[in-house]
Symmetry: C2
């Protein structure tokens, strides 16, 4: 029976039972964490062989087109561009630039550049009265904090299972020239794990923005991060944009942070010929070249066809049981109670739990008090403001299977407790 269908009396009995359960967990003095979208140590162990693949026996004169130990190679090694083009779903190496170890830094730098110099001849954004970005939400907090840092106004766009609300995106982008960008995580969106449908990609590629310097920031962070064999794959945005006469409208990003080492992988941006030529020009001012030794490590480690996919299957074997533990706990403890809904991603790093409106903060608070740290409620919305106070991001990867199982159990108790409290309070 759903909680809302229970009488006050029944509900109060439930409250007492759930509270007892909660207090028992609380008494354990646990220290668990479901907040961090980080690989677990066993995932990092998968790539240990890469650490020594470039070594004193490497023939640096022939290993790449330049000696990777020396300056130069502004846009990255050819083979690294090829590798990242493959990871991004089949982009030609000529349209890829491989830089350092953080795709977030590339995104930040592109926006910083647009602030001071505009994009391809447009007015510098810092000279404009207003610059706005569309923010499909819930989304990735680090995207939103870049906007906040630069004073870019964020407009929330609802997320659906097939991607952002495209009616709203099309209407806004075509009518408001102060809208300069949109954040997208197309494959296993952060935090819901949704995959943009082919139709969504097609509609993105056909956008007719009022601003010539509007760009889609297509953060394909989880491009190859599948948990199951039979998964959907996001369509190739570049192909669609080329086909629809809109080649310059996007920047695409990816990194190997969650493939090899988090924060010590390689990161890339891909776009049209014109955007790439433009980026090369201004990248010159900020660097001599990226760390090509680390690029060579990745190139040698993934040199055989299919080796990225084989590697990601090993990652999935480690992550899948943790996702299952969380989803099982939600199914077993919350199904049928009418206390919320949750996503069942086929890849990526997160599950989103939506409480009944007005409960997310309370759930996170209760979990924290019982020793389970969660991502702050609201963090996945611009200005940390979840209007319905309902979205909670669950990150299953980092804790051990035992810890995540326990944390998920406790989480479900917190959801039940907060939901009953809320229903009773609404009735009073």
């Amino acid at each position: 029976m759903q909680y809302v269908d229970m009488s006050d009396e029944e509900l109060k009995a439930q409250l007492d039972a759930v509270k007892a359960e909660y207090d028992a967990y609380k008494a354990k003095g646990l220290d668990l964490n479901m907040a961090r979208g980080k690989p677990a140590p066993d995932q990092l162990n998968l790539s240990l062989d890469m650490l020594t693949i470039v070594n004193e026996n490497t023939d640096f004169a022939t290993a790449a087109e330049i000696d990777v130990r020396n300056y130069g190679g502004l846009t990255g090694l050819a083979d690294a561009r090829k590798l990242m083009g493959h990871i991004m779903g089949g982009i030609s190496a000529d349209n890829v630039i491989v830089l350092g170890q953080s795709s977030l830094t590339i995104m930040y730098d592109l926006i910083a550049h647009a602030m001071t110099h505009g994009i391809m001849g447009s007015a510098p954004w810092c000279k404009l009265d207003k610059v706005k970005f569309l923010c499909p939400s819930p989304g990735y907090d680090r995207h939103f904090s870049i906007c906040e840092h630069f004073g870019i106004e964020m407009i929330v766009v609802p997320m659906h299972e097939d991607g952002p609300d495209m009616d709203m995106v099309e209407q806004l982008v075509s009518s408001d020239s102060s809208i300069k960008g949109i954040w997208c995580v197309p494959q296993y969106s952060n935090p819901q794990g949704f995959v943009y449908s082919d139709e969504t990609v097609e509609r993105f590629s056909k956008l007719a923005p009022a601003a010539s310097d509007f760009r889609i920031f297509w953060d394909n962070a989880y491009a190859v991060h599948h948990l199951v064999e039979d998964h959907p794959t996001v369509a190739n945005l570049k192909d669609a944009c080329d086909r629809n006469g809109n080649p310059d409208i996007f920047y695409m990003f990816a990194s190997t942070s969650k493939v090899t080492f988090a924060g010590a992988g390689i990161a890339a941006v891909a776009s049209s010929d014109a955007n790439v030529a433009n980026m090369k020009k201004f990248m010159f001012y900020s660097m001599i070249g990226p760390d090509k030794i680390n690029q060579l490590r990745h190139v040698l480690y993934f040199k055989d066809q299919g080796s990225v996919e084989a590697h990601m299957r090993k990652q999935a074997q480690l992550i899948r049981p943790k996702f299952k533990a969380v989803l099982d706990a939600l199914d077993q403890n919350l199904d049928g109670l009418g206390v919320g809904t949750w996503t069942k991603p086929m890849g990526g790093y997160f599950i989103t739990y939506d409480t009944i409106p007005g409960c997310a903060k309370r759930v996170v608070e209760l979990a924290g008090e019982a020793g389970v740290k969660m991502t702050g409620a609201g963090a996945m919305y611009p200005y940390k403001n979840d209007p319905d106070d309902k979205s909670i991001r669950i990150a299953p990867t980092y804790p051990s299977l035992e810890d995540i199982s326990m944390a998920a159990q406790i989480f479900t108790v917190c959801v039940r407790l907060a939901s009953i409290e809320k229903i009773l309070a609404d009735r009073a």
Copy 2:
């Protein structure tokens, strides 16, 4: 006898002889290069052991304060901050941030940040009518191109053997609030190899800028790059600034690009507590953390006291003969002719040759036609404009000893040829 003291007839006879020498070299169809401030392959070989020092046997739970293979550690590993503080001449690890592989990128990012956000509450530089930087010249072209990129007006300050003209620096900095910075390479200045005197450092630390957001950009790129044992060492600017009540006036930079691997080392910025706290705050928006695996490589490789210095002595053994070959050629072929002067650095990567006024471009042109590529004349001045057309940067490190010896010989022939041409033209 100096060329200027020769009769027209004597000089023309010299011209014929030098021209014959020049043509003989030209006929060889050589392909030599004295343009690149890059380590030679044998220098890079010195650090090969570092490549595998972090490996599958590393205990990542204890090797540093966090697992270097995972996210986090925004300001760098504690031991890496200690190492770079040591290289920068004794800066406390708390005042050091270690980032990626390029100090140029850190400088660029600091200026980009000041453009959009100002420094510690000052007006964003992009909102000001005019922003100016002082540019001791000749200097490093990449410093100047950052200014050019951001539309920062560059004011040339003459360089002396003990540093920039401090009378001019003091006068300008204290009287013009649009002057926001000055570029300095204090230890073995690029391209002259001068070392700032203790008095110069003291005067820098006592500057009383009209602009509260004025900063000294102290690029200590060659801090430990000595060629001889008995060398001068630049004084600790941070200590001087602290002592003189001017703690926030500087940013200090260094990297291991010319210690270990060029473009694959680690880079750092150091400053006051307040500047470091401020940097941490805005760095957050652009990254999760730097590549800590590469930081750990450096930490383990240089873990013993004095190991950096021992390593740099090995570097010096490889570089010193090349500097000697160039200086010997200049001494033997140009001394007494009155065709210019040159520096005799005790470290760093460059020698500067000053022709008689109006000859630098012609020398570089002649060298190029004879198969010896040089840094473009003027490149060491803001806007590539050497007002006297006299400075030429010689980079001895990258070519083999044989090649640099040959290139230096040819260079001296070009200097003689251009000088005679100029003297004769002036007489006509």
